[in-house]
Symmetry: C2
Subunit: 367 residues, 2 copies
């Protein structure tokens, strides 16, 4: 595994270095938690990566240096104290002057501390230039490598089993919160470290609200129940939605479910690499619009999934980036009718040889 | 409750406004999650407070406006879109030009977006001045009001019961992870929304490591087991440590436990308002040092607890701020012996009438 992670992270670092030319960077400081883990393998909650064109340093404090040495074999681990004098030493070792940083991660205070420390250590204000970068890590992370795909697949298996086990036990009279908690217990007892987001159990009218989580409402027979859930396993997130009915579904449910499922399967079967996220979104949206429910599908078709449960690629209106082989994302159309409820069906897919392969295996009810 | 939260948040806002003069602010933008909740009562995960000398606006998107109206009665709720044009409108309504922001919360990108949007909307770059502030919210939050104390007390009760119930069932042969999971289940089933931090169960030698969490190690009879745990209830955190033994403790345990307990009780009984955090730390540290274990107590005596599990006031070496009535903090001395294990005993106290009142009620073993 150490060899695997060394090769995997070396590949990721190489792809990061290819981005240096865009802003003429000599080095970059990576402080975002998921990016730090992605490029290094290090799972600790504190530390910075300093990556130049030929060196890679992981700077962290005494609590984490042993762990860092084991988890981040492609990096030289540097044990640091809160004072920032190590940064100038590291950068001058690297011969780096133009230093990129993650502008959407670093706070104004953090930036000011670094700027001051570098100027003081260098003795003047012209030695270093701090250059804001945006989205480099997230952009690279959109395409998954083999090791990531293995972890994502395991996370999704855990989520699938939790859904299959718990959904088989749901009875009228249970509350949404009870169902959510049974799902969480299953996920944790299977070895996932946490939920990837708070579980949504929307029964009856609650299913129509976009940000309903789970409440003390008693589940009733015959009404739609939207369950949207995920776990995190060794950092990687699953995300699954199923809509079920306890007892007999009525004609309305069958109609709405059938349209949603057709939209979902259409998108899965017809999405191809080279389309934009917006193109993919339209594959399902057209089906729902033609059925007369276009106004009731008020969110994007999907989103990338990886170390974060929402990450690149974008899969929705205004997502202009192209979908590529190796990208992992959700396909989750829904129809929401105020006062009645909602139906949403979501799977995670990976693009391989230009087409979508569905990773999720949780049961889908046939309406 | 709505009346309570209105009065409570109005009091908090008034104390915030008293800080405006320090930097000659006309208004401040609050975006930190805990500060947003503290000043407004709003529990949603997205939104900004804009507070001027006589107005208070909560700006959030369509997902949260209904909830915001219910939870934040002291605020005018403004429904916003991602574009930032609302900010200039709000600030010019307020007649505000010198605008504070939380420099330790706002990212470099976020700051740049706001700066550009305001300059464009105002038509020039001199209308607004963005002024970095640090720690205003955290500083005010260190002193708790009655409503906060009630929620903290409930969080601590839940944690106490989880410890008492689970610790009574620990047997040799259980793993640390199993104990941690039983604690988490108890906490959640009592209605707390989450853990306040990942539960620490350090048995035998594992108890000597500062950042050990819980592992698959089997607990054995006669060894010290450090359990450090907390829950979050309606936003407020508990934090409790007990050290126990399954079966008969040996003489070494009795010696170390007794010193630690004496140090803890000494600090609880002798800390008074007006001392610095550093003074308080020394109350316990002196006892441990005199017993010959000063080098084995390698962390601070405690820390403030509230909406975050670690917040103000500081209670340790170099904490120069004075402890005041209404502050809530932990008192948690420990002794750690490599290869043997650790003992730590932690309670949460509140300063009232100048003295510490212990809120935690979980059983303490007598050695």
């Amino acid at each position: 595994m150490t060899t695997d992670i060394k090769m995997a992270t070396e590949g990721r670092i190489a792809r990061l270095r290819e981005k240096f030319d865009d802003s003429e960077l000599d080095a970059i400081i990576i402080s975002n938690t998921e990016n730090r883990r992605y490029f290094s393998g290090f799972k600790g909650s504190a530390g910075n990566l300093i990556i130049s064109r030929d060196k890679a340093v992981l700077a962290t404090d005494f609590r984490y240096t042993e762990q860092a040495g084991l988890q981040a074999p492609a990096f030289d681990v540097l044990q640091i104290r809160p004072a920032l004098d190590w940064l100038h030493e590291t950068l001058s070792d690297m011969g780096a002057k133009r230093i990129g940083f993650e502008a959407d991660e670093m706070t104004v205070s953090g930036h000011e501390r670094i700027r001051k420390a570098l100027n003081e250590a260098a003795g003047d204000e012209t030695t270093y230039t701090l250059i804001p970068t945006n989205g480099i890590g997230v952009g690279l992370r959109a395409v998954k490598d083999a090791q990531e795909l293995a972890l994502l697949t395991r996370a999704i298996e855990i989520g699938d089993k939790a859904f299959d086990d718990v959904s088989a036990q749901i009875k009228a009279g249970m509350t949404e919160n009870e169902v959510a908690w049974e799902i969480e217990k299953s996920i944790r007892e299977q070895g996932a470290e946490s939920l990837s987001f708070e579980t949504i159990v929307g029964s009856g009218p609650n299913g129509a609200r976009p940000h309903h989580l789970a409440a003390d409402r008693f589940i009733q027979e015959g009404e739609p129940i939207v369950i949207d859930m995920g776990c995190q396993y060794q950092g990687y997130c699953s995300d699954l939605t199923r809509t079920i009915v306890i007892g007999e579904p009525d004609a309305k449910f069958k109609e709405i479910y059938d349209i949603t499922l057709t939209a979902q399967l259409t998108a899965i079967e017809t999405v191809v690499a080279g389309m934009t996220g917006e193109d993919a979104d339209m594959l399902a949206r057209n089906v729902i619009t033609e059925a007369g429910y276009g106004d009731n599908f008020g969110h994007s078709l999907g989103h990338g999934v990886g170390l974060e449960v929402h990450e690149g690629p974008g899969v929705g209106a205004r997502a202009k980036g192209k979908l590529e082989d190796g990208m992992v994302f959700t396909i989750e159309p829904g129809i929401y009718l105020t006062g009645w409820g909602g139906v949403r069906i979501e799977d995670v897919v990976v693009l391989e040889n230009g087409r979508a392969r569905v990773i999720s295996k949780a049961r889908k009810v046939s309406p």
